[in-house]
Symmetry: C2
C-alpha cells in the first residue's frame, strides 16, 4: 500500500465550481440533478470535474448521472453451485466493471432480503437481479421505487415480471433423444423431490420423447432426494422390477453417481449394458465418475448473461416481460459412448 | 414494482441547506469533508439531511462520513468452492449489510485485477479482502492509496501485510492423531501436486505425528493431481507396495472418494481393514461416499470472518500484520468409525 493519504489535495465541489466559473451551489444543483440548470452549464461542470480529476469520486459522478452503475444481485442460495455460474454470467454481460455487482445473500430469509433491498436502494443501484436455488416460482421482490428487477433461474410468480430460467423440459427431451438415438428402449428415470418444478419438467420432457418413440418410460419417474444414496437405492428398485433396463436418465449428476455405483454392484457394465445420463454437468462430479458421465448442461452461465442483458435493457427504458427459457445442451462422455474410454 | 418515480420530490442539497440555515455551498463543503466548517454546523447539516429523509442517498451520506461502508472482495477463484465459504464468512462478520460487499472475480488475470482495484477505489471502498484458490503466496495487491487490504486463504508475499489462512499443518496432524488413536500403524498419504503449499504442509503435519508415534508414513507422500482418478491410482500403488496398509489420509475429499473406490475394488473393507480420512469436509462429496467420509474441515468460513474483523480493525485505524492461521477440526464419519453405520 502506498501511504499517500486522501484529503486536502483532493478536488472538491468548490474546486469544480471555480474551474467551471459557477457557484458551488450550482455545482450542488448539478450534483443533485435538479432541473434548474442549463445543459451547457451542466456540461461545463462535468468537464471541469473531469479536468481536475474529480474522477476518483465515482459517488459524486453517479449522482451527476443519476446512475450508480451498480446492480444488486440477491440470491437465496448462499452462492452455492447453482447461483455462482449465474452470477459469473451476469458479471460477464455487465461488462467487466462497467457495471459493478453488489452481492447479497438473503439465505432464504424474507427479513434479510427486505433489509438488503433497502440497503441497495440506499446505494442507488440501477437494478436488481434475483436468483435462487430452484426453478420453483418465488414471490416478486418488493421494491417500492421504480428500479427494474430481473429474475434469473428462479422465476417470479408475477407473469408480468421478466424472468430468465433453465429449460428443464428440453433437458429431459435432450436426454431422451440421445438414448433413443443410441437404440435404448428400456429407460428409467431417477430424480429429486416431486415438489421441484425442475424435477417434474425434466420427467415430462423425457416421457414425451420416449412416448413418441414408442418406448415409454419404465415404471414412473422415481422421485426422491437429490442425493447419491437415493441414486443407488432407486437404481436397485428399478433393476428389481426391470431386469431388462438398458438406460437411466438422472435428474442430477450426484444421482447418476449413485446409479453408477449401484449398477456396478449389480454387475451391469456402463454403457454396454446400461447407458447413463446425469444433469448439471457439474465437472468435478461428472468427470470423476467411473465411467465419466454424459450430462445435460443447463446453461446457467447463459441464464446469468441473458438476465443481465434484460436488466440493462430495462435500465435503458426497454423492459422485457414474461419467462424466457435458455437452451441447454448435452455433453457426451463415456457413460453413453460405447466406443469411448471407460 | 411501484411506479413512483424518483425525482422532483426527492430531497436535494438545496433542501438540506434551507433546513440547516446554511448556504448550499456550505452543504457542499460538508459533502466534500473539507475542513473549513465547524463541527456544530456540520452536525446541523447532517441532522437536517436526516430529518428531510436525505437517507436514501447513501452516496451522499458516505461522502459526509468519508466512508462508503463498502468492502471490495477480489477473488482469483471465480467464487468456486474455496472462496465462497470465505466470502460468506466475511459477509457475516461485516454485519449483514452494515458493510456491503462488492465482489470482483479477477479470474487470475492481473489486468482484470488492476481494473477492479481502480473501479473499487473509484467507488471509495473502505478496504479490500483478497482471496484465491490456494494457500500459495500471491504478490501484494497494488493499491496506490491508503486503503487497507487483508488477504484471506491466499497469503500475501509481503510479511508486513495482514493474511488470514488455513492451518494446513494442523490438518495433517489432526488426521495423524485420529488414526494413531484408532490404533492404525501403517498409514499412507495421497495428495495433490507438490507445488501446492497446502499439500506439502498437510504431509509435513501428518509425518510429524506419525514419526512421534513410532509409525512413520508408508513410502512417501504420494503427490499427484486433485482428482478422483489420482486417488484411485495412488491407492493401487500404495496397496501393491504395502499390502498391510491399514489407513490412508487424503489431501482432499475427492481424492478420498477415489481411494474408497479403489479399496473396495481390492476387496478391502472401510474402515475395518483400512481407515480413510479426507480433507475439505465438502458435504456433497463426504456424505455421498460409501461409507461417508471422515474429513478435516479447514474452517474456511472462519477464515472469512476473521479476515473481515481484521479489515474492520484496519479501517478503524488498528491494522494487523503477519499471517494468522485459523484452527481446523475433524468431522468423524463412518470411514474411520468401526462402530458406525457403513
Amino acid at each position: 500500500m502506498n501511504k499517500e493519504r486522501p484529503g486536502p489535495t483532493r478536488a472538491t465541489v468548490r474546486d469544480v465550481a471555480a474551474r467551471a466559473g459557477v457557484s458551488p451551489g450550482t455545482v450542488s444543483k448539478a450534483l443533485n440533478g435538479t432541473g434548474q440548470i442549463s445543459p451547457t452549464t451542466r456540461a461545463r461542470i462535468v468537464a471541469a470535474a473531469e479536468e481536475i480529476d474529480f474522477r476518483p469520486n465515482a459517488l459524486a459522478r453517479s449522482v451527476f448521472e443519476r446512475r450508480s452503475y451498480t446492480v444488486g444481485l440477491i440470491t437465496t442460495d448462499s452462492f452455492e453451485r447453482f447461483s455462482v455460474p449465474v452470477m459469473l454470467g451476469a458479471e460477464d454481460a455487465l461488462g467487466a466493471g462497467q457495471m459493478s455487482v453488489f452481492l447479497c445473500d438473503s439465505r432464504d430469509d424474507p427479513i434479510r432480503e427486505r433489509h438488503y433491498v433497502e440497503v441497495l436502494l440506499g446505494r442507488r443501484v440501477d437494478g436488481f437481479i434475483v436468483t435462487g436455488r430452484t426453478s420453483n416460482e418465488r414471490p416478486p421482490l418488493h421494491v417500492d421505487r421504480d428500479v427494474p428487477v430481473v429474475y434469473a433461474l428462479t422465476p417470479s410468480a408475477d407473469p408480468a415480471d421478466c424472468s430468465v430460467v433453465v429449460d428443464d423440459e428440453a433437458a429431459g427431451r435432450l436426454a431422451g433423444d440421445h438414448l433413443i438415438r443410441l437404440g435404448r428402449t428400456a429407460v428409467g428415470h431417477i430424480t429429486g423431490p416431486e415438489w421441484f418444478d425442475a424435477a417434474r419438467r425434466r420427467a415430462a420432457g423425457l416421457a414425451e420423447v420416449l412416448d413418441a418413440a414408442g418406448h415409454p418410460l419404465l415404471d414412473k419417474p422415481w422421485y426422491g432426494g437429490w442425493t447419491e444414496a437415493w441414486g443407488r437405492q432407486a437404481t436397485q428398485i428399478l433393476l428389481r422390477s426391470n431386469p431388462d433396463l438398458d438406460a437411466i436418465y438422472c435428474g442430477s449428476d450426484l444421482l447418476a453417481r449413485g446409479a453408477a455405483d449401484a449398477l456396478r454392484d449389480a454387475g451391469r457394465r456402463i454403457p454396454d449394458d446400461v447407458a447413463l445420463i446425469g444433469t448439471d454437468n457439474w465437472e468435478y462430479i461428472a468427470e470423476g465418475a467411473r465411467p465419466p458421465l454424459t450430462s445435460i448442461d443447463l446453461g446457467l452461465g447463459e441464464v446469468g448473461r441473458l438476465a443481465a442483458r434484460r436488466l440493462l435493457d430495462a435500465i435503458a427504458g426497454q423492459p422485457h416481460s414474461g419467462v424466457e427459457r435458455v437452451a441447454c445442451h448435452l455433453v457426451a462422455r463415456a457413460s453413453t459412448d460405447e466406443s469411448g474410454p471407460h
